[in-house]
């Protein structure tokens, strides 16, 4: 009876999917924590500061040399931060619309994680494909989910019932919608070339023919810039913009609810880095490692390659934040509507022509 259950393909599918989800979730959470640390350290170094260098459990300091070194690197800081978020007082102001105020953080964090479901983060490990859901409409799914993210922010801005969050929410809705168009258009050209919406197939194509960033540099630039706008990162962090709107949409939030927004932002960053790796940088493949792995080691190497590429893009995200000043709101809209959308359209037309001419 029990053996039958284990051989049953549906059960196996459920089991392996659950395992993959758990692992991916755990890895992403760790990534979020340490992305915050890297961000703090990088910003500190760029701004001639030292960054977190004190937190350490007393036990860790007992280790000679290494303990001190880790403390100076701030390795233990994320744990302290997490603990702090959990233990802080969760304050709900009296004037907010309570129900929406409560669900907004959840709405903003869930889409970020959902997008990760279709990303192939490795080729195969044993017999399992290293993607949680190998959808045939992967990219459409991603765009559908990503655009849900804006609801969390808008809802937070509206439910907070005070002016700064409200302005932040409005800005975010306008910004995200404008840039989503450019973003969506930029990837159309990729699929014209590849001829498939499935992300695993896309990677296989890149493994065989070379990275798509070489074929479509314009699309990549548009996608990258739009990703900055989508994740509310500088130079497009107008929904938050500390200098004008205090904290933007999350001004009224504290404790774990704020932490969820924070988590959402970084999870979004991870998701869009992963997306870019998949779309433009050949996913888990390297120019000389293009075959789906047949051994366990090969599978792990592929996952490692994917993560390494992702980390590079994350550092780009982080670095840019400390490099460029924030855009003015009209400049942002101008860039989105009057520059990127026409360029993306032109790019689609040219790509279509190219495909028509050369693929005969």
């Amino acid at each position: 009876m029990l053996e039958n259950l284990f051989i049953d393909p549906t059960f196996q599918f459920v089991l392996f999917s659950a395992a993959k989800i758990a692992v991916v979730f755990g890895v992403v959470m760790t990534f979020v924590a340490y992305a915050v640390l890297v961000e703090r350290k990088v910003s500190a170094f760029i701004q001639d500061r030292v960054g977190p260098n004190r937190t350490a459990p007393p036990l860790a300091l007992k280790i000679p040399v290494l303990g001190r070194f880790l403390q100076r690197c701030g390795i233990f800081q994320p744990m302290a931060d997490g603990l702090k978020f959990i233990l802080k007082e969760d304050f709900t102001p009296a004037y907010v619309r309570t129900i929406y105020f409560w669900i907004a953080p959840a709405i903003s964090v869930i889409p970020a994680f959902l997008t990760l479901a279709v990303i192939p983060f490795g080729s195969t490990l044993g017999k399992q494909q290293m993607v949680i859901a190998d959808l045939n409409v992967g990219i459409l799914y991603t765009f559908g989910i990503v655009s849900l993210g804006v609801y969390g922010i808008v809802l937070a801005g509206w439910a907070s019932n005070s002016k700064y969050p409200f302005l932040g929410g409005i800005r975010s809705s306008a910004q995200m919608i404008s840039y989503e168009i450019a973003m969506g258009m930029s990837v159309v050209s990729l699929f014209l070339i590849v001829g498939d919406l499935n992300l695993s197939k896309l990677i296989q194509w890149q493994a065989d023919n070379g990275w798509l960033v070489l074929y479509q540099p314009v699309a990549f630039v548009i996608f990258l810039v739009s990703a900055f706008a989508e994740t509310n990162r500088l130079p497009f962090d107008l929904p938050e913009s500390e200098t004008e709107l205090v904290g933007g949409y999350h001004t009224e939030y504290s404790s774990m609810k704020f932490a969820l927004f924070f988590l959402g932002e970084y999870a979004n960053m991870i998701a869009s880095s992963a997306m870019m790796v998949t779309l433009f940088f050949g996913g888990w493949s390297l120019p000389f490692l293009g075959k789906p792995a047949d051994s366990l080691l090969g599978g792990l190497v592929h996952i490692g390659i994917f993560i390494a590429k992702m980390i590079v893009l994350m550092v780009v995200f982080i670095w840019v934040r400390w490099m460029l000043p924030r855009f003015r709101y009209d400049q942002l809209m101008d860039l989105g509507w009057r520059r990127f959308i026409p360029i993306a359209l032109l790019n689609i037309v040219l790509t279509a022509l190219g495909v028509a001419l050369f693929n005969r």
Partner: protein, 192 residues
């Protein structure tokens, strides 16, 4: 000398935003590399960081205001309450001696405050009290890191302020008068 700022419109290359990216990257990378290599003079102080190694305060720094004593160890403040009046955040509270209190501990002074409190939580280190004081009795000194465990603890009373303030001889405005007065006592010394 007038400096004419060039405000000619951006050329095409500049409008692509690329020069800004390149320059931005150069600047940030320079600072980053310097910090990572430990050559940053702003962060690498050599002997440690703030709480353990306190920041070295330069002379002329205006920190917390404290009351000072004169060269003979007497209270300089005469309880004129000008500082209380001028203090923008109303951090100073002075209790004047009133008729029943004894004389000041300084000759030449009619009175001194019975109690003198500065609420360091309110004080903004603006220095107006120092500026207004006719007796040079209160000075902004070098302390910048005041901390306490309760609000009450942060209200410094006269005793504490005088102890922290120390002696400040300064311009000895009344010295001359004091000497004159002393001479008066033995004025007609040897007549005839």
């Amino acid at each position: 000398m007038t400096k004419v700022v060039d405000r000619s419109p951006l050329n095409f290359y500049e409008r692509t935003y690329l020069p800004a990216l390149v320059e931005g990257f150069k600047v940030t990378a320079r600072h980053f590399v310097r910090s990572v290599k430990g050559e940053n003079t702003a962060t690498d102080l050599g002997d440690g960081y703030y709480p353990e190694v306190p920041w070295r305060v330069e002379g002329g720094y205006r920190g917390a205001p404290y009351l000072v004593r004169d060269q003979e160890g007497a209270t300089k403040c005469v309880s004129c309450q000008l500082c209380e009046f001028i203090c923008p955040p109303k951090a100073i509270k002075i209790t004047p001696p009133g008729p029943e209190a004894g004389p000041a501990d300084r000759p030449n002074a009619e009175k001194m405050p019975r109690e003198f409190e500065i609420n360091m939580l309110r004080c903004i280190f603006c220095g107006l009290c120092q500026e207004v004081c006719p007796e040079e009795a209160i000075f902004l000194q070098q302390h910048y890191s005041l901390s306490g465990l309760s609000r009450e603890e942060m209200i410094y009373n006269k005793e504490k302020l005088l102890k922290l303030g120390g002696v400040h001889a300064g311009i000895q405005k009344w010295k001359h008068k004091l000497e004159e007065a002393k001479e008066q006592e033995s004025f007609p010394v040897n007549v005839g």
